[in-house]
Structures are given as C-alpha cells and as structure tokens.
Amino acid sequence: MPPMLLFEQALNGFQFGVMLFLMAAGLTLVFGVMGLINLAHGSLYMIGAFFAAYVAGLTGSFILALGASLAAAAAAGAIIEVTVLRRLYDRDHLDQVLATFALILILSEGTRWVFGSFPLYLDLPDYLDGVAVLPGGLEYPIYRLVIIAIGLIMAGGLFLLIARTRLGIQIRAGENDREMIAALGVDITRLYTIVFAIGAALAGLAGALVGSIQSVQVGMGEPVLILAFVVIVIGGIGSIKGAMIGAILVGMTDTLGRFLLPIAMSSVMDASQAASVGSALASMSIYILMAVVLAIRPTGLYGNR
C-alpha cells in the first residue's frame, strides 16, 4: 500500500471530522446551555444545503451561496426556537426527542414540497475545482482543503467567541447556572435564541459545504446528525473541546476503517469476501469506538455530567 494513498485517506478523514465538528458544535452547545436534545439539527443542515444550492443556481456565486446557507439556517433555527423549542426546555428528554422528531417530519416533507423530490447539485466554481500539489507530491482537491480551512476557521472563531467575548461569558455562565445569570439581568430568552441560531448556522454551513461534494437532497441531514451524536457522546455532552476531539476521532476512524479494513481482511480471506466483510466491519467501526469509550468513561472524554 503506497504511503501517499494512506496520507490522502487520512486527509479525507480529517476533512470529514472537521465537517462533523460543525454539526456537533451546535448540538453540544444547545445541550450544554439549554439542556435540549435536538434531533432536528439535521434538518438545519439540510436547509443550509438547499438554500445554498438555490442561491448558487440563481446568482452563480459560490460565496453568496455559502452566505445564504448561514443566513437561512440561522433564521430557520431562530424561528423554530421561538415557536416550538422554547416550550420544551423544562420538559423531559422524551418530549424533546418526540417534538424534534415531529419537526424533522415537518421540515423534511416541507422541503420536499417546496424543492421537489429530485436531488439538487451545487457546482463548484472553477477556482475551487482543481487539485493542489501538497508537500511530498500528493495531488489533493483544492476544495477539500478549503473545507478543512473554513472548518478550522469556524472552530477557532467559536473557541474565541466562547472564551473571549461578553456573549461567550454569558453562554458559559448559562451552562453553569441559568437562574443566577437571569437574576443578574441577562436576557436569558434572547441568549437562548442567539445560541440556537449560532448552532443552526454552523450546521447550515456544513450542509452547504458537504452538499457540493455529494448531492443536496431531503433526508441528507439525519445520517450526519446521528454521527454528530456519536461525536458528542464520545467527546462528552456540553464540551466544545470534546466535540472537536470526538469529531476528528470519528472522521478518521470511519474513513481509515473503510480504507484499511478491506485490505487487512484480504490477508486472511479471498478478495471479494474480504471487500464485503471489511466494509461491513468498517460501517460498524465508529459505534464500536463509541462503545469502548463509554465502557471506560460513561460520560465521554470531556464530559462532567
């Protein structure tokens, strides 16, 4: 196996991990601050992708499309927070799961109704549609490098926002004691809406970025949502740092597992059987990773609840 191929797959895994972080960050923030488990986070990812594809088709500008994904997902997030989710903060998890499941049904079918059942395609502009030569001679798609860069910039921005700004102080205080910061005069209702909109915008951006690699279709959000759940369970619910580490772990394990396991299996059985056994094992690898992490630390790597 050439080392270049392994390096390329590792980069793919890292890129996948960065995307998962954008999804997982919103989920873990919303859970940490509001105590809400939000299954409809995948729908925000989908909404971001659809609006990006729509705006790209209308204007031809990829930058505007990314901006549209951020704005549309943030707006959709704020609307569902104000109309529905706000009523669920002091309900038990079962009600939250069910209500957000109901939102998925409404948002998915609503999107199908507006945009139709056929997948949309988000084409890359020429300046992103090439390969870059990395040190060592590896040719790697520019677009995937851009995804990694945007993801890391967003992650850095989020860390700064939480660690350095007034809003970040309020968010951290809200995680610790929401009655106290409400008593200190912070408008907690507005804070919750802002936190939710930030998480939604990150999910929408991830949807638009991934939508340009794959197709944009109804139901694209839920598989990613469940991976994001795995990420935050591994990282520890409520921890942004845990979400980052969990996301990279899951992205790497999944991508490298799909690449390496069939190769490893072919040393003990014939090639066609090895391919199917290897891919079946690879599809389970991240869940096995999760089970192992939980067996050692039931609250995840950085969880303290």
Partner: protein
C-alpha cells in the same frame, strides 16, 4: 368499568370485529390494515415496557424489530431456496414454520437487547437516547453492507410462512394469529406491571437511589425490562416481515425506531392500550391522509407536536382522563 376500561374494550373489539366485517364484505385491504395495526401495536407494547414502565427512552428499538424481521427472512430464505443454514458443526435447515421463526426472533432480539442494554444502561438520560440510536444505525449500516441476505435491496420471501392447523394465506386467519399474540402480550404486560418485578421497575424509574437503598439493583431491573421489551418488539418484527413477505434494512432505520415511539406517545405513555390506540391512529392517518396528500407526514408532524405540547397524556389521556395515581 372506568372510562379507560371501556375505551380499551372498544379498541380490542374493533380489532376483532372490523376484520370479521371486512372478510364478510370482501374488503380484504381493510383486514391487511388491521393486521398491520395489530403488529405495530405489538412492537409498541414491547417498547412501552421499557419506555412507559421503566422510563428508558430507547431510540433504538428498530434493532429488535429488524432482528425479528431478519430472523424470519434468513430462516425462510434458506427454506425456500433449499440451502441448508449450517452444514458444520451440524446440519441445520431453514424453516417456514412460524413458531420456530418466532422463537428464533425472540432469542435473537433478547440477546441483542442484553448486549446493548449492558453497554447503554451504564449511562442515563440523553446519553442513553443517543447510544440506543447509534446502535440502531450500526445494525442498519451492517445489513446494508452485508451482501449475503440482499444487502440494501432487501430479501423477498415468496410464500407466507405456515402455522400448524391454520392456513396463513387467508388474510383473516393470519390476522387472528397476530391479534392473539398482541392480546397475549397485553395480558403479559398488564401482569408484569403489577408483579413485584414491575413494581421494582416502576420504582427504579421514579427514584433509582431509593430502590438501590432497599436492596434491589436498579441496573438489573432495567436490564431485564429492556430484554423483555426487545424480545416483544422482535416478535413483532418477525410478524411484520411475514405480513409484507419482505425484509429490508429499512426495518433497522432510525425512522422505524421513531415511529414505534410515536405509537406509544400518540396513544399515551405507560397506558396499557396506548400503543394500540397510537398504532391505530397512525395507520388510519397514513392511509387516509396519504390518499389526500403526498406530504401527509407534515400533518403527522403537526399532530405529534400538538399532542406533545398540549396533551402529554396522548389519545387515551384525552378520551379517558388522567391516569389514576397508584400512591
């Protein structure tokens, strides 16, 4: 009889009488709908033991439903292709016999519930929800990528499996097999609730520490409840596969888990007949709203949202009033 008792009697008798009427008037499709209601209600009765009695919000019951389905699919496909299931260490053939398939489905889903339970019951609350969901996805992707039994395309079974003494190809007879199993599960569930085990389970839901202080390990009680719950849902999966004569990875999908929860919640959590009322409403809505609009799930979502926000007791809560307290 109180209002909930009357409502339960109405629900139960409608599952007996409507198919009888349908059979006499030749409305075969109505029998199939009733059978589907009975089977999905059975899956809900299983989940309700974990969810309603034990307070365990499992978003992964599709695992058991799917394992039941594949128990039927694997056994029946070997029987229909005349390929032995095992040649070594001993010869074992597939089967078309329902009772054998049911036992296999129950064993397979109990075993899966035991393993998943041991791992996921170490956690609670939102972790438990997410982990059960993740295990569901694990089985889903595994069946998609494992090509031996149809992979993503699923596995058709050409002729419905047989039950000694009955002709399962007659829709009414198959319906009554499913209905008998549903009633048996309801009786079992009602008896479980008032048994010492059920009381311990209910207590563990309300306050695990107190249960532990009185000398019962809440983990064990929850684990067995989870296993029983998974076994019943697995049996429902085997029947569902027999109804459709088809199994596919969709049975393992997280939407299936969500739908089984919907039956329980729409009907009323913890109510004995909650899953029956919920499954009935779901299938009726699917059938009639599905004719009315391709996008019927929007209405299902709105209804579900309304029930959760404004009527946490579900349909039975609306029709029969608050559950009387046991204290």
């Amino acid at each position: 009889m109180n209002r909930e008792g009357i409502l339960n009697a109405v629900l139960a008798s409608s599952l007996v009488l409507v198919p009888l009427w349908a059979s006499l008037s030749g409305e075969i499709f109505a029998i199939t709908l009733a059978t589907k209601i009975a089977i999905l209600a059975l899956a809900g009765v299983g989940l309700n033991i974990a969810l309603g009695q034990g307070g365990l919000v499992s978003l992964g019951h599709a695992v058991f439903f799917g394992l039941g389905g594949y128990a039927m699919g694997v056994l029946a496909s070997h029987a229909q292709d005349f390929v032995p299931l095992l040649e070594w260490p001993f010869a074992l053939d597939g089967t078309k016999s329902m009772p054998v398939i049911w036992i296999t489905a129950i064993l397979a889903s109990s075993l899966a519930a035991l393993v998943i339970g041991i791992i996921s019951l170490r956690t609670s609350g939102v972790y438990f929800i997410m982990i059960t969901l993740a295990f569901g996805q694990m089985f889903y992707y595994f069946t998609i990528s494992w090509p031996a039994y149809g992979g993503e395309d699923g596995l058709p079974i050409y002729i419905r499996n047989s039950f000694p003494g009955l002709n399962t190809l007659v829709p009414l007879q198959f319906h009554f097999i499913c209905l008998a199993l549903l009633f048996a599960a309801l009786v079992f569930s009602a008896r479980l609730k008032t048994s010492p085990f059920g009381l311990a389970l209910n207590a563990a839901r309300q306050n695990g520490e107190r249960v532990a202080a009185s000398g019962i390990r809440p983990f064990d009680v929850r684990l067995w409840a989870f296993v029983i719950s998974g076994a019943i849902t697995g049996l429902a999966g085997a029947l569902f596969a027999d109804l459709n004569r088809f199994v596919s990875p969709v049975m393992f999908s997280w939407q299936t888990s969500g739908e089984i929860i919907i039956f329980v919640i729409l009907g009323g959590v913890g109510r004995l007949f909650g899953p029956v009322a919920g499954a009935m409403l779901f299938i009726i809505l699917e059938h009639f709203l599905g004719d009315f609009s391709e996008y019927w799930q929007i209405f299902l979502g709105l209804l579900l949202l309304a029930v959760i926000l404004y009527s946490p007791g579900g349909i039975i809560g609306i029709l029969a009033g608050r559950e009387k307290s046991h204290v």
